[in-house]
Symmetry: C2
DNA sequence: ATACAATATTTGTATATACAAATGTATGTT
DNA sequence: AACATACATTTGTATATACAAATATTGTAT
């Protein structure tokens, strides 16, 4: 992932600007590869993320704000995102009886089954993404990212 | 940028998955800070990127495919993106006489003036983003990102 | 010269996302 | 109880992006 080649520039780029561009390029690549993997399941990365959060609840229902708290990319519109998962019968929603403002969202059996298949694909995709770095390098990278 | 706190999880995440999430989180932060800076200029990051590319042409017109080649995030629809810049009078477009399929896009004086103001804001934003890392760390980070 | 493929861009359409306003519910104060 | 406020979600609307099909132009082979 050589940035000068990728954005076809010959100009000298200051180190901090270069780093930011570099991070964006790697992120685009990640999105592309993971998105490609999810394509056949007809779910977006955000939807996949919500499914994983719901599975992590181990049967306990989650409300929208809990989901939002745990999402990698927080979004203003988790409500409609969940609508789409309901339309695909991957999750279901009920009104919380103890606090009727809240909503209780649970992953369905079908959702769990689909998610398991997605995981296989995503694990491979993630391996592809990071395959060129060894453990030491990944650790160093995490330490550096932690500083942001 | 502690990922466990950020996505409120207690589960053990494999190193490569963790790295990918970490990269996505940092990228979201970058997008947020830069997007915030551009807000008052009413241009998106993509539009800003196109303006910079056009300035880099130093007077020479660029066509859509050239712009696309140089964009950090390639997109399928640079045509309409340019439309929006035209609507804001930041660029202008003409049909290329030697090859009428092509289009010649040039940044306007107004575009150059606005871009200069944007640069000030973006430089500050970029400084904010990377301020917690020193030169050595940024260099190491770039070396690692290069491996992807 | 005609037909066909390749190139460059534009347009239609569907989906995704951002932001603000609206809705419905609960809680605290007087 | 009546009111204002806070909370949780939904909805309206505008904009952004993705993908495929359509349009227009050029290059090439026969």
């Amino acid at each position: 992932m050589n940035i000068e080649k990728y954005i076809k520039t010959s100009a000298e780029i200051p180190l901090n600007k270069k780093t930011i561009i570099h991070l964006m390029l790697v992120n685009n690549m990640i999105k592309e590869i993971i998105g490609e993997g999810l394509k056949s399941f007809d779910v977006s990365m955000q939807q996949y993320n919500v499914l994983r959060i719901l599975r992590g609840q181990k049967g306990n229902p989650a409300n929208l704000s809990t989901i939002n708290e745990r999402m990698i990319s927080k979004m203003s519109n988790t409500s409609r995102l969940v609508d789409k998962l309901i339309a695909k019968k991957l999750v279901c929603r009920a009104i919380c009886e103890s606090n009727r403002r809240k909503v209780e969202i649970v992953i369905t059996e079908e959702g769990l089954a689909s998610l398991e298949k997605m995981d296989n694909v995503i694990n491979k995709a993630e391996h592809t993404i990071t395959s060129k770095l060894n453990t030491k390098e990944l650790e160093t990278l995490n330490i550096l990212l932690n500083k942001f």
